[in-house]
Structure formats: structure tokens, C-alpha cells
Amino acid sequence: MITLTDVRKHYSSEVAIGPVSVILPAGGITALVGPNGAGKSTLLTMIGRLLGTDAGTIEVGGHDVAKTPSRDLAKLLAVLRQENHVVARLTVRQLVGFGRFPHSKGRLTAADEAHISDAIDFLGLTDLEGRYLDELSGGQRQRAYVAMVLAQDTDYVLLDEPLNNLDMKHAVDTMRHLRRAATELGKTIVIVLHDINFAGHYADHICAVKGGAVVRSGPPAEIMTDAVLTEIFDTPVRVIDGPDGPLAVYYRGD
């Protein structure tokens, strides 16, 4: 369970986040959705202690992220930001290997290698594992980073728009993989999603952020309605019955 209590972050008098108080349930996938600049990524990076809060507390699995030593947190939660760039020349497998750092401090054991192989296979990167990151497409690189985060083998996984740069097939594959990781391995996955329909289909819980505050939080069935989505995204949205559940349609904008 991830608990945010009165969390605030100030950038300027006009731009501020919070106070946010919300509970993200343990287990399953929680999707953070909302318009641009709503504060989804900021919230996620604060939960992942990559960004400090100005006030309030954040607890992940009962551990205060501001007080727990970072190396202990690294075994509890893994976090991936949207923009990732590595200057060093690494192969996919070497990058994924860094996910084991919290456990083995860089001295990879056979068990670590097995975890790395699992994560690579899980994301369908087996044939690419010897390639250098600068030889990959944006989408392939994105998957390599997700594999690194999965290799970290933590109960909590935080991902900031992991579907960026991915084509349909790989976006769907990645979400299916994450769904499996949540269901089969019992992980808690918090994910910032741009596409409301991915959130509606794969998430167990949707948390809508707008103007630096959590405006709605609940199961997809509660969020995927005309009124709620129109209010969250400030543009007319109609929810129709698709073949696999509700579908938000918003392309016409009137």
C-alpha cells in the first residue's frame, strides 16, 4: 500500500502540487491519468524519492520514503522516469544487470544472472541482449529500461509513461507483461499512462490527477464514464461499449 498524507510541492506561487492525500492499494496496477502538467509525473517521482516533498509524508509498504535509507528502498521499490539517457556505452544485458545493483552491489551472482535473463525474456529482448543501447530504436531502448526495473525484483514498481515511443504491438505487449507481473508475481505497479483506454483496460485502480490534486480515485468502472472523463480532461469524451469493455472516444473534441 502506498499512502500519501498532505503531500505538497511548490514550484512557484501559481504552480504547486497538493496537498495530496491518497491511498494507492497494494497489489495490481494503479494508473495515474490526467491532462498535461497535472502533476502525475511529479507525484510518481516523489513516491519514488527521486524528488523531495516540501511537506507531508509518503509511505510505501509502511516505510517513509524520506526517512528509509535509499539502499533499503531500492529493494522495496523500483522507479523509472520518462527520459532516460546513458552516456556510457552499454549493452542491453549490461543495462538490465544494473537492476541487480541493490541486491549484489555490482558483483553479479548466478542468481542475479537468472533474474536478468528472466527480465530480458519477459520483455522479448532476448535476441537484442547483446546489442548496444545506441544501436536500438527508441521503443526497444524503452523496453530495456523497463526490463532493468523488473530485474530489480521489488514489490513496488513505479513507471512514468513506459508506453512512450512504443508502437501498438509493443505497447500492448508491455501492458500485458506488467499485468502478468501484477497478477502472477503479486507486484504493486503504479504507472503514469497517457492513453485512458490502456488505463481502463489494464488497471485495477485509476487515480485521476488534475491541477496538482487527486480529483478522482477508484476502479475503472467508476472513472470510465462520460461525465468523469470530460471533467478530468477538459474536453468532451464519450464512453462507448467496446468489444473488450468501455472505450473512451474523444477525437472530435465537440
Binding site: L73, N84, V87, A88, L90, Q94, F98, F101, G106, R107
Partner: protein, 343 residues
């Protein structure tokens, strides 16, 4: 790591040198560099030795020349390892730690001494005490800068670097102004100190310089695995449980010790670190610091001592190595860039 020799399928490993071929290539590279380094050392000690080979006089002369070799080894390790570590924590492959104002500070100290004391000023700066003072001054300057700019809530590396460059530029122009006011003979004496030159170094400094450099080198080496993670960037390193800012300040402090020792010993060698770091990444074939550090130290020695041999025996201009390093080094650098299209 699990090594299954003889099996058809290669073992899957995230090791820095994953295949047998990569390991062989690395071993070969280190071997060639080591042999070249030894060959150059032999040339330095034995070439042009007026006494018959093996005689007591021969050994005596070789012994005297050992100082120069040790100085070059210390400088090569300091500049090479220091630059690689610096480029890692700054996530930038075209920076060199000398831009952080170390060299400008050195130039300012030397110039001020000559400005105030005349030609005697150069002599006033020689000696173990003065050496330590200069090192302390440079490290202190770096610590102040990092401590002030990186420990704040909004500690920003890019701003720190920029401030370092600006302060370096300021010190440089103050030095240039003082140099304009010197008499030609004073300026002549001073300019000899401002070229990076092995003959600047004094044997009496080595008992202090070597341990100082060795401690910093061993500490950096022992942190290689952490540096590998730091190279992933602030967010990824934090996510993997490193206290990024602490690593940053610690590494920069060690780098400043290395750069201060090297600069106080032989003077400014702006380009050497950058050149050998660039070459070492190419030679090592991996980004893992445990493998890059030995290669960069050896490459540094080969480049520095090689330049010294050329200057001494071809151009008969002893010691002033920075000229040839910058000329040949620049050419090699451009060649690599054009051929490979990346750093």
C-alpha cells in the same frame, strides 16, 4: 560468473566483457599498452646514456632519470583516472576536470609569486611545504565550490561547472593582467613554469606526491562499481539506492586531489586527461570503470612518456611535453571522431 567452457551456446552474462572474444581483446590491449610502457621506460632510462651499458656510471645516470619516469607515471594516473571519473559524474564525455579552475588557480599562484617577488618568486614556490600548500589551495577551492553549490537544496551540477569555468576565466584574466606588468626576464622565467613540463617536477616532492595520489587512486578504484551506477545518471542511480549527491561530492573531491597533485607537480596539461580518457574508452571496449581505469592509466603513461621521448630525442626540447601532446593528441582525437563518428 558462471563460465561454461566448451558448450556451443554462449553463456548469458551481463559481465562487462561478456564474450570470450571481448575478454581476449581486453587482455591483448592491456598487454600491448604494458609492453609499450615498459619499452618507453627502457628508452627513457638507457637511450643516450654516455656511460657503457651495465657499468656503475650507467646505473647512476639511469637512477637519476627514474625521477622523470615516476613523475610521468604519477601524472598519467592522476590525469587519466581523474578525467574518467570526472566525466562519469558529470555525465559528459567532452569535459576535463581542468576546466574547474585548477589550472587557472595554479597559473594565478605562480604569476602572483613572480609579480610580488620577482624571479625569486618561482624559487619561493619550490619545496615540499609549498607543494602541499598549492595542493591544499586547489583542493580547498574545489571543496568550497562543490560544497557550496552542490549541497544546497537545488544543488545543480551544471551550474557548479559553469561557476568553476567563470572563476577559472576570471583568475586567468587577472593572471594575464599581472603578466603584462612583468619585466621580460621575469615573464620568461614564469612562462617556463606555465608550460606543462616534466622537468618542472622536483624529486623531493615525490615522497609526498606519490602517497597522496596513490590514496586517491585506490579510493576511486575501490568505488568503480558505484561509479558504474553513477554513470546511469542521477535518477537511475538514486532509484538503485545510491546517495547520488554524496557520491558526486566524494568523487569530485578525489578528482580534485588528483588534479591538484598533477598540476602542482608539472604544471597545466589541459589536454592530456581528455585525450587519454577518449582513447581509453575506445581501447577498453567496455564502460565498466574497473576495466577502464587500468587502461586509461597505461594509455596516459604511454602518451605522456612517448611525447617526452619524442621531444627529448627528436626535437631536443626537453620536458615541454604539452606542445606535442596537444598537437598529436588533437590529430588522433579528430581521427577517431571522423572514423567512428562517436566518442
Amino acid at each position: 560468473m558462471a563460465e561454461l567452457a566448451g558448450t556451443a551456446r554462449p553463456t548469458r552474462t551481463a559481465h562487462a566483457l561478456p564474450t570470450r572474444r571481448a575478454r581476449r581483446r581486453y587482455a591483448l590491449t592491456v598487454g600491448i599498452l604494458a609492453v609499450t610502457a615498459i619499452a618507453i621506460t627502457v628508452v627513457l632510462l638507457a637511450w643516450d646514456n654516455p656511460m657503457p651499458f651495465g657499468s656503475a656510471g650507467f646505473l647512476r645516470i639511469a637512477e637519476l632519470r627514474t625521477t622523470g619516469v615516476i613523475v610521468m607515471a604519477v601524472v598519467a594516473c592522476c590525469q587519466g583516472v581523474g578525467t574518467v571519473a570526472f566525466q562519469t559524474v558529470t555525465e559528459n564525455r567532452i569535459l576535463t576536470p581542468s576546466i574547474m579552475g585548477f589550472e587557472a588557480l595554479y597559473v594565478a599562484v605562480q604569476t602572483t609569486a613572480v609579480y610580488v617577488l620577482g624571479t625569486a618568486g618561482v624559487l619561493a614556490l619550490q619545496g615540499v611545504g609549498q607543494f602541499l600548500l598549492q595542493v591544499a589551495l586547489m583542493v580547498g577551492f574545489a571543496l568550497l565550490l562543490y560544497g557550496w553549490l552542490l549541497s544546497g537544496r537545488r544543488g545543480d551540477l551544471q551550474v557548479t561547472l559553469l561557476v568553476g569555468i567563470v572563476i577559472g576565466g576570471g583568475l586567468g584574466s587577472v593572471s594575464a593582467f599581472m603578466q603584462r606588468l612583468l619585466t621580460p626576464s621575469e615573464f620568461d622565467v614564469l612562462s617556463a613554469r606555465l608550460f606543462g613540463s616534466v622537468s618542472n617536477a622536483d624529486a623531493a616532492l615525490l615522497p609526498v606526491a606519490v602517497p597522496l595520489a596513490a590514496v586517491a587512486l585506490v579510493l576511486l578504484w575501490s568505488r568503480s562499481r558505484r561509479l558504474n551506477v553513477v554513470a546511469l545518471g542521477r535518477d537511475a542511480a538514486t532509484a538503485l539506492g545510491l546517495r547520488h549527491r554524496r557520491e558526486l561530492i566524494l568523487t569530485l573531491t578525489l578528482v580534485s586531489v588528483l588534479m591538484a597533485v598533477s598540476t602542482a607537480l608539472v604544471g597545466p596539461l589541459t589536454f592530456l586527461g581528455f585525450l587519454v580518457a577518449t582513447l581509453a574508452y575506445q581501447f577498453a571496449g567496455t564502460a565498466d570503470h574497473r576495466y577502464v581505469f587500468p587502461v586509461v592509466a597505461l594509455t596516459g603513461f604511454v602518451v605522456l612518456a612517448g611525447a617526452y621521448v619524442v621531444m627529448k630525442h627528436v626535437f631536443d626540447a626537453q620536458g615541454v611535453v604539452s606542445i606535442i601532446i596537444e598537437f598529436v593528441g588533437g590529430a588522433v582525437f579528430l581521427l577517431i571522431l571522423l572514423r567512428k563518428g562517436r566518442l
